[in-house]
């Protein structure tokens, strides 16, 4: 059980289930403390038994590194501020191969630099948790909160056929919980896992319980530690012969199938009678949540479907939920990324509309309500796949 630097009274048993809409739960108990998202994620990793952290400064993620710079040495664990993100992720690769529970964090541009090593880790079946506190792009973009890295995280980051589980918290309390989940998934399936947050989640402060979920220590039997008294072992992604590499890929694909089968996570709200289903994750989901309430106040039966795993995408549940809806509205802080998975999931069975803000702009509840109204009034899609596109920003 991890205790925070700042004393915070008697601790409560950790609440695993997080209520829909946000991961946090309203509670008048005084034993909560205010924490910045970046710091909460860092402390949660320490509580979860993170053995080694590697990072590099970047806004809006810097406080995560700074927290680790102080706390990891206190805990007698490994902390290295690398010379670059490239070095950080490769240090993680090494530590993970040696059996460490590893955390790496950065933000969009830094994450792009990790594409090659992520592909190597996936190919070498090395667990690792990578936190992306997303900012506006493309390029240097801005330091505002955005969700423009969805497709990168879920589909195309590095080269070759691989996937990594992607977890998307929408509150600081949920982020704390998902850090533990991320390590569990990483180790159960021997894969890198990405925690996809954004600038607001990283920079905001919310009340959290100071007792964070803990994980049992590990010493994986596949790790390298010296071949004393046994055959040597090599951890690698190289398989020169096509037959071997295909067999290796099929093995990976089998793991991905198992993950897709077992690990789809989501949260929902007001879905039972929802005529318009809003699909949103992370910070956008919080806006959507307020929008759903305002819409209902105005008599529009809206509901919120919030994917928590972006890969595997919670397709089974969404198909079920959308089956009795009139329209689905995807709300993104990106130009139309998650909407692809929603469309792949629903396969034309329901009109899918998109409300997209980008480049660090965050939709307001009112504009989302307006979009939901429009979605409701749409008898059917105006083009195959039913993406409505408006000329300019916001509604697209």
């Amino acid at each position: 059980m991890a205790v925070l630097a700042r004393p915070a009274g008697a601790s409560r048993p950790h609440i695993v289930a997080s209520p829909p809409g946000t991961g946090g739960e309203a509670s008048p108990t005084p034993d909560r403390v205010l924490m910045k998202g970046n710091e909460a994620i860092a402390e949660a990793a320490i509580a979860a038994g993170c053995d080694a952290y590697f990072g590099y400064p970047i806004t809006p993620q810097a406080e995560l590194l700074e927290w680790m710079a102080r706390r990891m040495p206190e805990e007698g664990r490994v902390y290295v501020q690398a010379e670059s993100e490239l070095a950080a992720i490769n240090m993680a690769l090494g530590a993970s191969a040696a059996g460490a529970r590893v955390l790496v964090s950065s933000s969009s541009p830094g994450i792009s630099l990790m594409a090659e090593a992520m592909s190597y880790m996936a190919g070498s079946k090395l667990p690792c948790v990578l936190v992306n506190v997303m900012r506006g792009g493309p390029g240097l973009g801005s330091i505002g909160a955005a969700q423009g890295d969805y497709l990168q995280a879920t589909k195309g980051h590095g080269h070759g056929d691989y996937k990594v589980p992607v977890l998307a918290p929408s509150s600081i309390a949920e982020a704390i919980e998902l850090v533990g989940t991320a390590f569990e998934l990483a180790e159960r399936y021997r894969t890198p896992v990405m925690l996809l947050a954004d600038g607001i989640l990283g920079q905001a402060m919310e009340p959290v319980r100071p007792d964070f979920p803990t994980l049992a220590p590990q010493a994986p039997d596949w790790r390298i530690e010296g071949a004393e008294g046994r055959e040597p072992r090599s951890i690698r992604s190289l398989h020169l012969r096509a037959e071997d590499l295909e067999a290796h890929n099929l093995d990976l694909q089998a793991t991905y199938a198992r993950i897709t089968e077992a690990e789809q996570r989501w949260a929902g709200e007001h879905l039972d009678d929802a005529e318009v289903v809003l699909v949103a994750y992370g910070t956008a989901a919080r806006v959507a949540r307020t929008a759903v309430e305002r819409a209902r106040e105005q008599g529009l039966r809206a509901g919120l479907f919030r994917p928590i795993t972006l890969w595997p995408f919670p397709a089974v549940a969404l198909r079920e939920v959308a089956s009795h809806a009139r329209a689905v509205l995807v709300v993104e802080m990106s130009a139309g990324q998650m909407v692809e998975d929603v469309r792949l999931t629903l396969d034309g069975s329901v009109p899918v509309l998109l409300h997209a803000r980008m480049g660090g702009s965050i939709p307001t509840p009112d504009e989302v309500v307006a979009a939901a109204r429009r979605a409701w009034s749409v008898s059917g899609p105006d083009e195959p796949g039913g993406i409505l596109r408006a000329p300019a920003g916001g509604e697209r």
């Binding site: 053995d51 080694a52 590697f54 490994v78 290295v80 690398a82 010379e83 670059s84 490239l86 070095a87 950080a88 490769n90 240090m91 993680a92 690769l93 090494g94 530590a95 993970s96 191969a97 040696a98 059996g99 460490a100 590893v102 090659e116 090593a117 190597y120 070498s124 390298i224 530690e225 010296g226 071949a227 004393e228 008294g229 040597p232 072992r233 090599s234 951890i235 690698r236 992604s237 190289l238």
Partner: protein
């Protein structure tokens, strides 16, 4: 027509035999220096008796298959990142012997930042830097270490220093860093130099075992195929030509008080106020 050579009756004690840490026949081209360096590593680790707790951090180059030839636990690194990977390994397992095995394309080109910063931090692992002055694995292209005028598949008219610069003095640069406890440049050019290289590699691992800091041995080696020479011609070039650009010897052995002094400014440093 294949007539295997009949093993003869054996008498007398064995003066030299293959070290046990060395296993499968390598896929290296005939006469490739990598084989010699592998052998020396096996001999040294065996002599130090640490083979069972040594971790090989491989790199991408012809030596990428080293894990097939050395009886060691091994981890593969993305091209150029071995020093970062080794940092992760050694920081988590300081009780293990960790070394990277890198070619000059890997270490001196794409891996420049990683090796310099691992050395600057004084990471407590050893780097075996096999400098054959060329990209062997990919077909013999020019490397930052290629000699001026040397013809390669990417410098068909010979390396032109006016556009590609001069061979990168990696070990000299690293020797300026306080984190570097041992740095030497050796060669496999003849049996004597091979013996010397063996001593140097041993010393590098000793420094690591003392937990002092970063240690590196640059081993000047050959790539007969990439150089377009027979193995013996390549060895001759290594002995006669290469060494002129790359002086062999120990640059840093701080535990023994060997270290170069930093370059000093050549111009007045006093604060002046005129000439604004």
């Amino acid at each position: 027509m294949i007539t295997p050579q009949a093993p003869a009756p054996i008498e007398g004690r064995t003066i030299y035999k293959r070290p046990a840490l060395l296993t499968n026949t390598t896929s290296y081209c005939p006469g490739c220096g990598h084989g010699i360096v592998h052998r020396l590593l096996a001999e040294v680790l065996e002599e130090l008796g640490v083979g069972g707790r040594t971790l090989l951090v491989g790199s991408v180059g012809c030596s990428v298959f080293a894990y097939d030839y050395l009886r060691l636990d091994a981890i593969e690194s993305p091209h150029g990142r071995a020093a970062a990977v080794a940092t992760g390994v050694k920081r988590y397992r300081p009780d293990r012997v960790v070394f990277t095995y890198q070619g000059d394309g890997d270490l001196a080109a794409i891996g420049t930042a990683e090796i310099i910063h691992a050395a600057a931090r004084g990471e407590r692992f050893t780097t075996i830097f096999v400098n054959n002055g060329i990209y062997g694995m990919t077909g013999g292209q020019m490397a930052p270490t290629t000699l001026p005028g040397q013809k390669t598949t990417s410098s068909p008219d010979g390396r032109d220093t006016s556009t590609t610069g001069y061979p990168l003095p990696v070990t000299e640069m690293l020797s300026l860093l306080p984190g570097v406890q041992y740095a030497a440049r050796m060669s496999v050019g003849d049996p004597g130099l091979v013996g010397k290289a063996r001593q140097s590699i041993k010393r590098a691992f000793e420094v690591q075992l003392e937990g002092k800091g970063f240690s590196i041995v640059e081993v000047l080696s050959t790539c007969p195929v990439g150089w377009g020479m027979t193995p013996t011609e390549a060895m001759a070039r290594l002995r006669d030509t290469v060494v002129e650009t790359y002086p062999v010897g120990t640059f840093v052995d701080r535990p023994r008080g060997i270290a170069p002094r930093l370059p000093q400014p050549g111009a007045p440093t006093r604060s002046i106020t005129e000439g604004f």
